[in-house]
Amino acid sequence: MNAPADIAISVKDLTVGYGDTVILQNVNFQVRRGEVFVILGASGSGKSTLLKAMIGLYPPLSGDVWIEGGNLVAAQGEERLALLRKIGVMYQSGALFGSITVLENVRLPLDEFTDLPDPLKEVAALARLKLVGLGAAADKMPAELSGGMQKRAAIARAMALDPGILFLDEPSAGLDPITSAGIDLLITNLAHHFGFTFVIVSHELPSIYSIADRVVMLGSGAKGIIAEGKPEELRDGAADPRVRRFFNRQPDPGHSVEPS
C-alpha cells in the first residue's frame, strides 16, 4: 500500500471478534506520524480490543492494519517481526518481568534484538530510565515500585528499541492526579523531543485534554467509531449525544441510582 508519507498507521475496514460475536466492525482511521492519538470510549466499548488488534495480538476477522507501510495482519515470519520492531507497547498493568530488575527489563529487548556493544546497552537502558525519571530505581525489582513508577518503567522498556510508534494501554488509569499529570508530561515530551507517534487507550478526560492531538471515540454497543477529531471540538460540538454525554460526564439516560 502506498500510504502518504506522514501516515504512521492506517486501520482499514477492521472487524474484530471471536466466533459469531463481533466486537468492532469495519473500523477505519489513520494515525499521522508524530501525533498523540487517543482511542477513547466507555468501559466495554472495545478500546483495548482495538489496541490489541492493532498490535497483532488479536487476529481480526477481516480488515488490515498498516504500520509504516507494512500490513501487520498479512505479514508472516521475518516481515512480521520487522513490523513488530517498529512498535513498542505499554500494557495496562505494566507487565514488567518480576524476576529481573527494572534496568534488566529495559535492557532485555536491547540484548535480544540489537548488536550494540554491552557497555552501550547498559548506558542506553539507563538513559531510557532517566528519560522517564526512574534513573535511581534502576536496580530495584518491579514489585518495589509504585503503580505510577511501574508504568513509567514499562514506557522505558517499550521505547528501548526506539520503535517510532508507542502504544499505551490506559497509562493514567488508577494513578493519583499528580502522578497522572507526570505521565502526561512524559508522553508530551517524548512526542516532542523524539518524534514518537503515540496511540493511547484512555478514558481519563483530564489526560485526554492534556495530551491528545486527535481522538477517536468508540461507542458502547456501536461496534465502531462514533466520533473523530480534536477533543475540544468533540466536547463542544459533537452531534452524537453519546459523545457529548461522555465529555460532559453525564450518565446514560435510564442508568439512574435514584429511586423511581
Partner: protein, 379 residues
C-alpha cells in the same frame, strides 16, 4: 584524521599527539547507525591516550534515544577514562535532555547490595533465628487451626461445607483414576517381586499375605499420601498463595473473616475424610493387582481369598487408616501453611508450591517411621 560513512551517518575522528581528540558526527545518529559508530570510535579512541575529547554534533540532523545513549556514554568517559569530555553543538531541546541525563552519578545507579556477614557463626546464628521464627509461626498456625476445629465441627451451620465438598471432589473423587492405576501396578510389582523370592522356598502362596500386609500397613497409606501431597497439597498452596498475591486474603480479613476457619479448616476436614477413603481404595486396587498375578501363577481364587483374609487383623486395618488420616492432616496443613506464607512476586506461588510438596513428603516419611516404631514397640 579518519572519516567513515555508514548508512546515514558520517563519523570523523581526529586524534593529535598532544592528547587532544575531536569527533565530528554528521547525519542521523539513531538505533540503526549507533552500533557501527560505537565500534568505529572504540577502534580510534580506546587505544589512544586522550586527555581532552571534543564531540561536535552540530551536523546531526536527527538523534534518537539510542544516539543520545552514545553521546552520554562518551560524556561519561567510557571510551576515554582519563579524558575531559565535552559534547558541543546539540540542538537546544536535545541539549536540555542531555544535560538532565548526564550520568555523572553513574555509580549511584548500581548501589552495591549490603554485604551480609560471611562468617560461619553468623550464618548459623541467622539460620537458627530464622528457624525459631518459623517454628513460632508454625505453632501459632497449629494453635489457630486447633482452636477453629471445634467451632467447625460442633457448629456445622458456621462451617463452609460446600467448600469442603468441593475440595473432597477435586482432591478425592478426581484422584480415583490415578490412584487406581498406581495401586494396581503397585500390586503387580509387589506380587511379581515377592513371588520370585518365595518360589525359592516353595512358598508362593504367601504372596497373598505379603501383598495384603504391605498394602494395608504401609504402601497403601504411604503411596496415597504421596499422591495427595503431589496432587492436592501443591494445589492448596498454589490456590491460597494466589489469593494472597491478589490480596484476596486481605479482603477476607477486612470483612472480619479469619482465613484459618474460612480456607484452612475446610481443606483439613476434607483431607481427613478423603485420605483414608482413597487409602482404602488404593489397598483394594493393590490387592486386585496381586490377585491377578497369583491367578496367573496358577492359584485358585478361593485359596487366594482365604489366604488374604487370614493375613490381616482388625488392628492392622486400624493402623493403616489412622496413619492415612494423619498423613491427610499433614498434607493439607502444610499446603495451606505454605500458601498463607506466600511472598510477593511472580515466582512466589511456585516457590510455595514446591516447599509445600517437599515438606509434606518429608513429614509423611518421618511420621511413617514414627508409626512403624510405635507399632513395633506396642507388640
Amino acid at each position: 584524521m579518519t572519516i567513515s560513512t555508514q548508512n546515514e551517518l558520517e563519523t570523523e575522528v581526529e586524534v593529535r599527539p598532544d592528547g587532544q581528540a575531536r569527533v565530528v558526527l554528521r547525519g542521523r545518529l539513531n538505533a540503526q547507525t549507533v552500533a557501527g559508530c560505537w565500534i568505529r570510535l572504540e577502534q580510534d579512541l580506546s587505544e589512544a591516550k586522550v586527555q581532552t575529547l571534543q564531540v561536535d554534533v552540530s551536523g546531526l540532523g536527527f538523534c534518537d534515544a539510542a544516539g543520545l545513549s552514545l553521546l552520554l556514554s562518551l560524556n561519561m568517559g567510557r571510551m576515554t577514562p582519563q579524558a575531559t569530555v565535552s559534547v558541543l553543538g546539540l540542538k537546544a531541546d536535545l541539549e536540555k535532555i542531555f544535560r538532565e541525563l548526564a550520568l555523572e552519578d553513574d555509580e549511584t545507579f548500581h548501589p552495591q547490595p549490603a554485604i551480609q556477614s560471611g562468617s560461619f557463626v553468623g550464618k548459623i546464628g541467622r539460620r537458627v533465628r530464622q528457624m525459631s521464627g518459623d517454628f513460632h509461626e508454625q505453632m501459632v498456625f497449629l494453635g489457630a487451626v486447633i482452636a477453629s476445629l471445634p467451632a467447625s465441627i460442633f457448629h456445622p451451620k458456621r462451617s463452609r461445607w460446600a467448600e469442603t465438598r468441593r475440595v473432597v471432589e477435586l482432591a478425592g473423587a478426581n484422584a480415583v483414576p490415578i490412584v487406581s492405576l498406581m495401586s494396581l501396578l503397585l500390586g503387580f510389582i509387589i506380587a511379581f517381586e515377592s513371588a520370585r523370592r518365595l518360589a525359592e522356598f516353595g512358598a508362593q502362596l504367601y504372596v497373598a499375605n505379603t501383598i495384603m500386609v504391605v498394602m494395608v500397613r504401609d504402601m497403601g497409606p504411604l503411596m496415597t499420601a504421596i499422591l495427595v501431597a503431589g496432587r492436592s497439597g501443591s494445589s492448596f498452596a498454589a490456590e491460597i498463595g494466589t489469593m494472597k498475591v491478589n490480596e484476596e486474603l486481605n479482603a477476607l480479613q477486612t470483612f472480619g473473616l479469619d482465613p484459618i476457619p474460612f480456607l484452612v479448616v475446610p481443606r483439613i476436614l476434607a483431607a481427613v475424610f478423603l485420605t483414608p477413603l482413597l487409602t482404602f481404595y488404593s489397598i483394594l486396587m493393590g490387592v486386585i493387582g496381586g490377585v491377578i498375578v497369583m491367578l496367573g501363577l496358577g492359584f485358585a481364587l478361593p485359596l487366594i481369598l482365604h489366604q488374604l483374609a487370614s493375613s490381616v487383623h482388625l488392628n492392622d486395618l486400624g493402623a493403616g487408616f489412622s496413619k492415612s488420616a494423619v498423613f491427610g492432616v499433614i498434607v493439607s496443613a502444610v499446603g495451606c501453611w505454605h500458601g498463607l506464607r506466600t511472598q510477593q512476586g511472580p515466582s512466589a506461588v511456585g516457590l510455595s508450591t514446591t516447599r509445600a510438596v517437599v515438606t509434606s513428603l518429608l513429614l509423611i516419611i518421618v511420621a511413617d517411621a514414627f508409626f512403624s516404631a510405635i507399632s513395633f514397640l506396642l507388640k
